[in-house]
Amino acid sequence: MRTPLRRIAAFIAGAALSVPLGLAAAETASAEDPKGYVTMSLDLAALGAGVLYEPLKMPFYEGDNWAALTLRFLGADNVQYSGSVSSSFYISDVKLPRDIEVSVPQVIVDEVEDLGDELEDGPSAAGEWLSAFDYYWMSGWMYTINSEMASLGASDIQPQDGDVVRWNFTVYGYGADLGLDVGWGFDALFPAADKSGLVKALGAVNADPGRSALLAKPGAQAAYDAALAALGALQATQAQADQAATALDQAITAVPPPSHVDISAELAATMAYLKTTVPEPVFGSQGGEWVVLSLARSGVELPAGYAAGYYQRIVAEVTDTAKHPKAPQLDNSKSTENSRLILALAALGYDPTDAGGLDLTWPLSDYSFVTRQGINGPVFALIALDTVPLDMPDIGDFNPAADTANQNTRERMVQYLLDKEINRGTSSAGGWALSGSTPDPDMTAMALQALAPHKSDPDVAAAINRAVGALSGLQNAQGGYASWGTVNAESIAQVITALTALGIDPATDARFVKAEGNAVTALLDFFVAGGGFKHTAGGGVNQMATEQGAYALVAYDRFANGLNSLYDMSDAVQATPPPPDAEGDGAITLQGPDEVSGGAGATFNVQVLTDGWPDETYQLFDALINIPAQFEVTNAVASTRLGGGTLSWNVDADNKLRVVYANTALQPIALTGDTWPAELLTISLEVAGAVDPDVTPHADLTVGGATVKAHPDVQFAFDISQAAHRVSFEEIGITVTELFTGDGVDLIPASARAVAVSFSGVDLTGLAPTFKGQGLISSPELTAKRGQPTYVLVTAPATAAADLVAVASYTFPAGAPQAVKFGDTDANGLINAQDATDSISAWLRVKAVASNQDILRHNVTSDARINTFDALAVVANYVSGVDFPIALK
């Protein structure tokens, strides 16, 4: 407990930092006429946490003061202050934009302990507020101008062109811990370096529109990181600060060497070709990761939503437990499936250790798994892990029961490759192959790509030299390579990628310039005008050849321009993963049961969904849904997310359902909420007459059109190309939908897989269905949504899909099944703040979540974990009526 005297002292210190002088209020002037430029930064050197807000060079305008500039720099939402911009501005709290690691320098700890005090715990997580008095009662925010203590408050000083302002969090001595003599009875703990030059250098880089290209220059990123570290180091000397600034300046102003072979036209054409022919890359060895890698590393501008869409598809792919029951292990035998995906995600700046909550690197921790497919496994595992680079995970995290002797390491994989060198230990050693004793250009080149980052090891360097020699010897007179007797583009592409990774110029290095060409010109011989590559000289455009040719061109282009090699992705700009339910462009889909009973009167619901809603204002939504003759529409209800109107519907003589959503005053209608896909309508259907499944095995519902309109002639047509749903007829229909599978991280064990099971054709009143003897849990929400009795089964992930849809797996004894209401964590029949608080409590491990019913009540987001997203979903459901995601599956 701080004494009142200390609080008074702190108050006085704070007041001294914001003495008002009644200067005119700062007004934001025209953005067209900057008066000059200043640079600002904010660091936590006194907490040992480095730079929090990196330096930025900013314009300032007539009327600006440092308070206004500070809010502009940090963002008004990230600062809490007393006073106003124009008077007595005093920062009390700054929001942490990321997690920080606090390690208060010993020089400060010693001073605190000399007073008989001790430091306290404080905020360190992203989103928390770092406030005055945190960690120590003397702490607070202060700023310097050009390394001098500011004499007035930030609202009382106007910037001058070239000024440098550094905001710091002082822990002890009101700035004495920052090396400043502040005159409060505390001498500077050490002589502070003038870091204005360093801040300016960093700020200029961050303000440069070509920042990415600047930092992609060789050594530039490392110089930037070193400069930032020097800025954030409390006791960095003047020499260290000056040296870091100079090194950064030199690195970013370095002029790249000229290109040796002009591939600009072919590169541009190939990138355009890939963007056109693969508009939506998916997980796969073609039309997938290699395309993404090529485009991302080429530096071309990606189409809007390209990266985010790919990421979302990948998350959907890897979390599909039906496809990948052992996720994050994506294949039973081939670790290259994981490695390939890691490459693509890293190239886009996404974190491969968190793809939809899955760490794709985990399976690479198992040496026996990685080497199971032979040499390709360790090759691409090394390439993948060395991209960012990524840590080798602990095999125990992947498989608690694993033999720790299988723990993989980079060293083990490197040794594996060295041991596989052809004729190793003999005078003819050199190169690699999948089998046999003749080096293969593809395999040799890929092994070199993997070993390139490890060439500082003498054994590795020696093997590399031998392999390079082998490749030189395998090259033909035109500069090309043959594999299995055929000269092909892919082999050349791999060699170019390998040589550039080793810093060898494939176009000019004497070892790779032959009588009629070099490796680069040889690759271009396979280029097809308009974009794309042939596999062999006599063929047409080939997808695999194009993808490998593409990234080989990118590898060479990067080499020629002095950028990081293709797989050295330490320069990749970190991307924020899109939310799994980001808005799309307005594509309509239908969601409903896969099977219904063919018996007359069987009922079910179908939802009409959209993945986006146009931004403009509309007054009316209409749609036409083609209803198969076997069904009769009994009702249509608008979603609670549609607002501003009421729904009218009718079924015409052709059994087409026509709906209109509008209001009588033609006021705007809207779709609220920001989760996607969003539900527009629920259509209730009934089987009109008995259907013989042998005669009519299925029926298809389709959407004939869906638009929003505004007077007089404004219209947006939703994409209906995917708006179809097939319903199969069965005597007893069983539809199984995946809800979630736990990952063992946050309260849901990895052994818990929840599926929704809907029944059609059986009256379950008074019955308690079981699956192989295990009781099913009734879900009123899913039943209402689907129009069919729906239950939740929590089963093992390995439960076969065939068993889940087999009628024979189920029994229907008399009884009352247990029921669960999603979001009702305290099972009192109500959803309110107690449930949201319980979700937080569960995540904080204050509240136990043990039973399957508890898990279902809490995991309303239907992902692998119970966490604060579930709390947010409860809030959204309570406040705005937003359906829980689990109820929409």
């Binding site: 309110n832 509240k847 809030v875 309570y878």
Partner: protein
């Protein structure tokens, strides 16, 4: 009881204003303690002589003193029970009655939601569901109250509750919630409560619709309210109308000429 307030279902109507027992007299009235015995004053004992009458008078006074003392003990016990275990000990949410508003007036109608007392505890979550006549009232939103949570500059902060006015107007029910996602750092706590100064949890804001008419008394009824703790599952420490650990008093909006 403040005029116009009605207690929520499940509690005795006509009881005293929650938390506002001001005198033993009120407590007696609340508990329905028996009236003083008066039968001795009718003089029907048959003692006709002045001496007999004097003796009878002394015995009467002993009775009065004895009974009065017993009543005082009972009243004190009742007061102690009432303050600790009776309705006054149970916190209540009170929808304060707003001033009457003219049917033509489209100014905002602000309804304070006041908490009568806050027992020891930490309450990181709170929610309130209030039903209203959406045909005659429009929900505008909510405003900050005066009751503070922990955290923030100076140690306290007045939170902003979440509400969706569009949804409220569709449903005819204001669903407002405050949630401290850190679990306790920004939670409601007795330190942030002060009767009279910091006891308004939030303010509900409405506006009359054109269909409102003079003479209308538009109900605002608390459907559900809770101040949630993290250990409610273990200790039952939350305050909730559903559990009768939180009372709620409805109100009306009077529409005048």
């Amino acid at each position: 009881m403040t005029t116009g307030q009605q207690p929520a279902d499940g509690f005795a109507s006509g009881g005293p204003s929650a938390g506002a027992v001001s005198s033993a007299h009120d407590a007696v009235a609340a508990t329905g303690a028996p009236a003083p015995v008066r039968g001795l004053e009718t003089g029907s004992q048959g003692a006709g002589s002045p001496a007999g009458l004097a003796g009878a008078g002394r015995r009467r006074w002993k009775w009065v003193i004895g009974i009065g003392g017993g009543l005082a003990v009972l009243a004190a016990a009742a007061l102690i029970w009432y303050l600790n275990w009776g309705p006054a000990g149970v916190p209540a949410l009170v929808l304060e009655k707003p001033a009457a508003i003219s049917a033509q007036d489209r100014d905002e109608i602000v309804v304070d939601v006041r908490l009568t007392n806050l027992p020891e505890g930490v309450y990181p979550g709170a929610s309130l569901a209030v039903e209203f006549d959406r045909g005659k009232l429009e929900c505008v939103g909510v405003r900050q109250g005066t009751m503070k949570t922990l955290g923030g500059a100076g140690g306290f902060s007045i939170p902003i509750w979440s509400v969706d006015a569009d949804y409220a107007n569709r449903e005819g029910r204001v669903n407002a919630m405050y949630l401290d996602q850190t679990g306790e750092t920004w939670a409601y706590a007795p330190d942030g409560f002060a009767k009279g100064d910091a006891d308004i949890l939030l303010r509900l804001v409405f506006r009359l619709r054109d269909s409102a008419q003079a003479g209308d008394e538009l109900d605002l009824r608390v459907k559900d309210a809770v101040l949630a703790t993290t250990d409610n599952a273990l200790r039952g420490s939350s305050l909730a109308t559903a559990d009768r650990t939180l009372r709620a008093f409805h109100t009306t909006v009077e529409v005048a000429d």
